[in-house]
């Protein structure tokens, strides 16, 4: 009878270890972060800054629109990816 208990305990422990290893290998997989591409427009005169969604073909230094504050040119200062949750 005690021998049977030992075997049952050994099998249960073995199963626990297997389940733990399977759980760990899945939980370690990094979550996929979703990024959105934004562009930063800065007024050449008053330094007004506005962030918009990126449009294909745009590049840094491109003059894109007028400043709503002083009417001067808005220049594209940066194009970068931001995590969707941090927008």
């Amino acid at each position: 009878m005690p021998e049977d208990y030992t075997s049952v305990i050994a099998i249960i422990l073995f199963l626990i270890i297997v389940l733990y290893l399977v759980y760990e290998s899945y939980s370690r997989r990094p979550r996929k972060t979703v990024y959105v591409v934004r562009e930063l427009l800065v007024c050449v005169k008053c330094n007004y800054r506005v962030e918009k969604d990126f449009e294909p073909g745009d590049f840094i230094g491109l003059v894109k629109g007028k400043c709503p504050q002083c009417g001067e040119d808005l220049k594209l200062k940066g194009i970068y990816a931001v995590e969707r949750g941090k927008l």
């Binding site: 075997s7 745009d58 840094i60 230094g61 940066g78 194009i79 990816a81 931001v82």
Partner: protein, 363 residues
Amino acid sequence: MNGDFSLIVQILWIVMFILIITGLNQKIQLKLWIFEIKVKLNAIHSLLEEDKVKVRNMLRNLGVKAPEAPLSRVLEFFTIEPVEIEPTDIIKRMDHLLRTAESSVRRMLESALPGLGRYERSLVESSLSVVAAINVIYKVVKHYLLLGEKENNFILIMQLQYLMPQILRTVQIYHEALDAFMQGRPIGDGAGPLVVYNLLEKSTIRSRKVMDDTSIIEAVYRGRRLIIVKAEGPGSNVGHPGAVIDKIVDELKGGVDLIVTIDAALKLEGEESGFIAEGVGAAIGDPGPEKIAIERAASRYNIPLRALVIKMDLKEAITTMRKVIFEACERAVLYLEKIIEETTPNNATIIVAGIGNTMGIPG
């Protein structure tokens, strides 16, 4: 009941014993590993096919009626490394081969896409390079899997199995990078060109010229003569900054007070993305010819050679520039200004080279 249970346990032990002494357990292990490698290889294949479809559509949108021909031609293009056991002139030979490869691919695309602008052609060229990189990884992994399976090579399969997560991660990074190259967005590797572009915004530009796909811009900054060297943008281009710096230094007969190179650098695990570090040497990650040209030019005339790097991982380097890297570039300009002011007097001549892919960054 108790007897039955003991019997089952005994049989299990005997089976395990037989498996171990006959080596069958290893064969079962081998099959399991092969299965896992095949699952990951299929994942790589799906990503490769998805990217091929994207590039085919890109070529179709640019007016290529049969995109398969240029696609397969560029995907299978290779460059044979120069002979290494005879080191004499190895840099010259390597430079020649790299330039020949570059111009050959360019010519292939020019014939497939006649009338296409330089900007669009550079994006096609880089997009094809990304797909070609995934294609090579897929073919090499498949080769070792089939070889290991054919030869029952336990060690080969084991190594491949343990490398597969890393390989798959690299492929996923290339896969994610493709969108940035197709749309011409700045990538993390463009940190160097972006820093020098921002420095130019603060300087008075005197002249501009382009040599060897590389822009040379002469400007004045706080009483100092700046010679800015960067790949010609805003297309996907890394230029030839080493060869150009070498030529400029020779033209000025060594009359240069400082050479500063700014580049993106791969960070170590645990290091922070966007961290700025300074040092000495040529910050450039080419196979050799460009880096040695800068080192030779600096050492020939005893010119101080300084380096500024912005740390990032591979994913951040080849995918769309992250905001943290963009902000680091803004800080790096201030850092660069500090180096220039600390180490050079008024009227000094300084070569500032922004190293990296200038996609989305003009100049």
